[in-house]
């Protein structure tokens, strides 16, 4: 069921099409599988059907904003990583993002991708470490030889 050497999967959530395009292109070029959604609700639909490693989401969106999405993700997809991006945010919102376990927050306008790239890489790395740990546990237990 699972093929080897799969590309890691990102979900870009933003109500602005330009941003979605920009980010998708950038990350597809870097070798990631990219899905997009235009708001929180939409994003949850996608999450419902596809495995996603990292979500990069805007805060201010109609229907369901980024913080609410983040909250919902924490409930239903506790292992997914979330990177918040935002142009405008109150301290309260940022704190909420922190509380709900966002990896980090990237401020718009995004002139340089370095910070975001690094965060995405960290996220993937983190998941890999956990897989490694889970495998290690197996070998500690001796496995079923």
């Amino acid at each position: 069921m699972f093929k080897k050497n799969e590309k890691p999967r990102l979900l870009i959530v933003d109500d602005e099409e330009d941003i979605r395009e920009l980010l998708s292109r950038h990350y597809r070029f870097k070798g990631y599988n990219v899905l997009t959604a235009c708001n929180g609700l939409d994003a949850l639909e996608v999450m419902n059907n596809e495995r996603v490693e990292v979500v990069i989401s805007d805060i201010l969106m109609p229907e369901m904003d980024g913080v609410e999405l983040l909250h919902k993700l924490r409930l239903d997809y506790p292992t997914v990583h979330v990177i918040i991006m935002t142009g405008y945010i109150t301290m309260e919102n940022l704190l909420a993002a922190l509380r709900y376990g966002a990896d980090t927050c990237i401020f718009k306008p995004i002139t340089n991708f370095d910070e975001m790239d690094e965060s995405v890489e960290h996220a993937i790395q983190h998941l890999k470490v956990w897989q490694k740990k889970l495998r290690e546990l197996q070998s500690l237990k001796g496995g079923d030889q």
Binding site: M1, F2, K4, N5, E6, K7, P8, R9, K30, G31, Y32, M47, N48, N49, E50, R51, V52, E53, D76, Y77, P78, T79, V80, E121, I124, L127, K128, Q131, L134, R135, Q138
Partner: protein, 720 residues
Amino acid sequence: MSAVTYDIDPELLREFLDDAIDNLTPIEESLLSLEHDPENMDLINKVFRPFHSLKGNAPFFGLMKVKKLAHKVETILDRLRKHELTVDKSIVKILISAVDLLHSMLKSVRDGATELEDPEKYKSIIDDLEISEAKPLAEPPDTLSKVLQKLVELETIVDTDKRVYVKEIINLINAENSGVISHNEQPDPLKKILEIVGKDGLPEVTDEQANIIKERLKQLKKLASSPKVKAIIKDIWDSYMTIFPKIGFDQILVELIREKFNSETILSEVWKTDKIPPKIDEAAPGKIEKTPSIEEIDKQPIEEEPVELPVKKESVMTDNSDKTMRVSEVKIDGFLDYVGELLVVQEMFRFFGKSVTRSNIERAQILEFRRILDTFDSLSDNMRKSILSIRSLPIKRVFQKLPRIVRDIADKTNKKVNVEIQGEELLIDKSYVEILDAPLVHIIRNSIDHGIEPAENRLTSGKSEEGTVVVRAEIVESNIVVTIQDDGAGINFDAVREKAIENGLIEVGEPLTEAKLVDLLFESGVSTAKEITDISGRGVGMDVVRENIEIFGGTISISSERGLGTKSIISLPRNVTTQIVDGFIVSVNNESYVLPMSAVIESFSPSDAEISTVTGKGTIVKRHDSLQTLVSIPALLMGIKDTGAPDNCILVSVDVKGESYAFAVDKLLGVNKVVVKPVDDILFHNHFFGGAAITGDGKIAMVLDLDKMIEDVHSDTSEV
């Protein structure tokens, strides 16, 4: 820049799936139990948790469909938890079919297929779950209030007081059902306290008000449902009792009360209501009971469950988180062998440790070695104990059937017998359960058949009409000892002797010690029952019984007193399979032997004056004012007559059947735990040896069977 990849490790996935599949099995059982026990919160929570984690973990492994299904189930379970939905047959049914589907989906993926091998089934179950989710809140039981209403209207309630109370109950129930009295309403005591304390400033609290607060706090304690709130109230109570007597109603107290009683926890607490006037007998103060059984009314009792009864301790699922595993016996038995070997290794280490100590290694390293050895020792000990405990069963298993057997035989033979069982909780290795079975039954049968006399005979000889058989299990030193004692007629040795002569086992006129007579009992063919009854008359049996016990290193002995009764004692070593013995290791003629430590009294070096040879008795050693017969092991083994004490020997005093003997040895090698391995078929003198042991230096030392050796000594001397 190399391409970034992220895969789910297939082995990890398999492991996860195996786990998840395993976790589903107990859930099915729990769901079935839930059907019969719908209010059981424990069960609901138990089922909720695995779905909650499955829902969270599935996406990590890319199992989105599984996640969705688990999510739907979790939602329903959550609603059940919060009493937003009630458990009924149809919900349980849909839950079970969801669990089934989940099970097959997980299996599917595990077998390499996709999650959704049957998309239609998936869709239909998801739909069903969604429908169940949306069930309206259960109807409040208004049958109760209807019945009560009828009661009030009936003329049978003559006592108008009672009628008033019943009416109040009806009102309350109705109000509660229609939500007029919300559960979250602050109880009066709380309101009162807050009133007195006020919102800010330092209120003037009179003594009377302080007392009111104190009383109210007490009441609140009873009305609180959750432990958190109880703790808060206790806090305040404690502070109150500390501060108030000394300083009075201080600002601190005021602030404390304000703060705590305005907290989220208190505000959201669901208080028990205490509005029923305490005079109604059936309603316990402080709680609303939905089933006040009104005794004076001859109506059918109301069937509904009271709302706040204490949680039933007898939950159907009693295993909680006591997971069990099925393991083949062979695997566990295998462990025991290793344990035995481990002990030998321990000894090897110890032996090595000695040479390490003597060598030129630094002291620190020696200490380190010792430390490691100690750790190894205790680990190995613990391991042995754990493994043995896995195999232990209470001896009750064997004893259980005895009373029944006693009753049956007693009935058949028209005797009155009472059985007393002692020590049935003793834990024994399970192999012993099988070994002890036949002997116990056999002995008990003998007891009743031959031992206990018929009731009239007993009365004539001044005994109680009812005979008693006592079966006792206990631990003596490192043995499990089972004693069966009856107060019957004792063994008729004369009859035994005759029968033995009849069978050609002994010569007429042969002098027989009691020991020998008892031995005869164990010989096949020596039953003195006048007729061979189907119970125990065949005369075959005791010999097999003894054989079986001895194979396991145990002993069986019988003693009897004419007219008083018979006592049979079965002794089995505590350690099964591997016999581990504390051994006193000696060297004689460069051969190592093991003397059981339990028999060794002391060792000493004889001065010539203490030894003397007496004709007919061999060589005697005088020690501590007692005379001990000298035993020379090589002499015995080679069958040559005792040649007196060798020069420069060391003597080891040994107790055998109450008498002391002095064994002559060349060297003392030490005291160690040794593992005794049985020896079969050694051609010569093997009855002197109880087995062979491997000592720390890897050599073999024969374990001496002292009883047998001493027998030989005596038979030797009697020939002189």
